[in-house]
Symmetry: C2
């Protein structure tokens, strides 16, 4: 299958490595957002643009009958994006897999599976330690901040601490900047610590992690306990998940299962190379 990449940041680069490592895929080109999309000849385009540009590009490509995979990560807007893309995919006999990263994405699959195993109970998804892109961008936007890094620290039960490392602009006052960060809506609801540093660059690290726990009830039996942990290189995992989902998109398109799908609507086996028989014998 021929897989192209649109957008060549951290995720696009990681996706390129995952395509090259896949036994059943060929890289069909790397495109930038201002390239001509009519020139793309691929089964699937991985939309690795900033998340707010995903809808525009996925829609354009789906309208041309090309499968897409994205890692759109604004949780509250996923259903609306799916609805809009689904209509375009159905009309053009193609498949779009959206929000294909680790959260939303593979964590979503784990949360769904745990619900099926213990339908009543509580699931907590604890993120980090790792860099939050959204919070880092919010901190950088504060007046007086030259560069910033916001780390997400898990405190359990879905509560997180924000550790915000900032490099000040010349002449900026730390106390004023700190107050502005603490008042920002991104930080106002969590325990937040602002720490001045000489260089943010030397702190950068794409490591991230998840600790996802559920305690629930199977039938009438309480105290069923589940935990999913990972410590990972963030863009490498996102790129790999997108590439595995590209495989599922082609399989679904070839079976006439058109539409826009989130990862909880995919069969795990469709993410993997190899035959049904090989995968069942190796994994079941």
């Amino acid at each position: 299958m021929k897989i192209a990449i649109l957008g060549y940041g951290n995720i696009g680069r990681a996706a390129e490595e995952a395509i090259k490592a896949a036994p059943d895929m060929e890289l069909a080109g790397i495109y930038h957002h201002n390239d001509c999309l009519d020139c793309i000849d691929a089964d699937v385009v991985l939309v690795c643009t900033p998340t707010r540009e995903v809808q525009k590009f996925a829609t354009l490509l789906a309208a041309r009958g090309i499968c897409t995979v994205d890692s759109f990560d604004i949780h509250g807007q996923i259903w609306s994006l799916r609805s809009s893309l689904d209509a375009v995919c159905q009309a053009n006999h193609t498949v779009s897999i959206l929000s294909a990263g680790w959260d939303p994405g593979t964590d979503s699959m784990v949360r769904a599976l745990l619900m099926a195993m213990a339908p009543k109970g509580l699931t907590y998804t604890n993120f980090g330690p790792g860099r939050s892109m959204g919070h880092t961008v919010a901190a950088k936007a504060i007046k007086g901040v030259k560069n910033a890094l916001s780390m997400t620290i898990p405190l359990g039960t879905g509560i997180h601490r924000r550790m915000v490392y900032i490099e000040l602009e010349d002449g900026a006052d730390f106390k004023t900047v700190e107050a502005a960060i603490l008042a920002d809506d991104y930080f106002a609801h969590d325990e937040t610590h602002v720490i001045p540093v000489d260089s943010v660059d030397v702190l950068n690290n794409v490591a991230h992690g998840v600790n996802l726990v559920r305690s629930g009830v199977s039938g009438e039996t309480h105290n069923q306990r589940f935990e999913f942990n990972m410590t990972i290189n963030n863009p490498a995992l996102t790129g790999q998940v997108m590439v595995s989902c590209a495989r599922a998109a082609v399989r679904m398109r070839d079976h006439g299962e058109f539409g826009a799908k989130t990862m909880i609507e995919l069969r795990p086996i469709d993410l993997l190379p190899g035959s049904t028989e090989q995968n069942i014998k190796a994994l079941v």
Copy 2:
């Protein structure tokens, strides 16, 4: 949807509780292996018989166009059972979900997902501490053993210790029985300890656990680490997983996706009650 139960041991009883707790299901009867299967009126029959009788009953029911779910657990025979049931399901426009427990079953889904996240690397599934049914039955079959319990203790990297608690028959010699157990093919390959006890009954406990770990490579990035842990009531989880799979069987049948499927061939969302929109908004 109307769900019946065939076989009323530990798993059948747990499945009954899970059906009664499900918002979208109705219990359509509990049957024993010698009951008349022609009398069953249900969308799905949960085949809760001993594993070696699964093929016979699932085949009979599928031939009548009834969906089935079983928790067939002989790993080496799953592909062959799937092939045989698949033909019957295709011919009779029905769905059979096989090996729907926690291993094989939900662990298989986790293993498949981890392969998609980090295609190169090693996965180890560590079981226990918990009772192994197969090893317990093997120990009970040894001459001189009145009752037995074989516990599986995880030692990591998929290696397990067997702790075998035995109640001797009157007049049996412990050393002779111990030697026979250690020589049995079920125990000869693992570290095994045989311990005489006055009563096996007071040791019984259906708790079990899993620690499933993978260290792998996403794209070209090594050191991606994943771990899935659970501590559970074994029959309660198996019964619940079978009931959740019954829901998937009905949905697949209603969409014309006939055949025999293992859990890695199911969409996680199909295991859950509620609409696509509700589940995507709650879980993705």
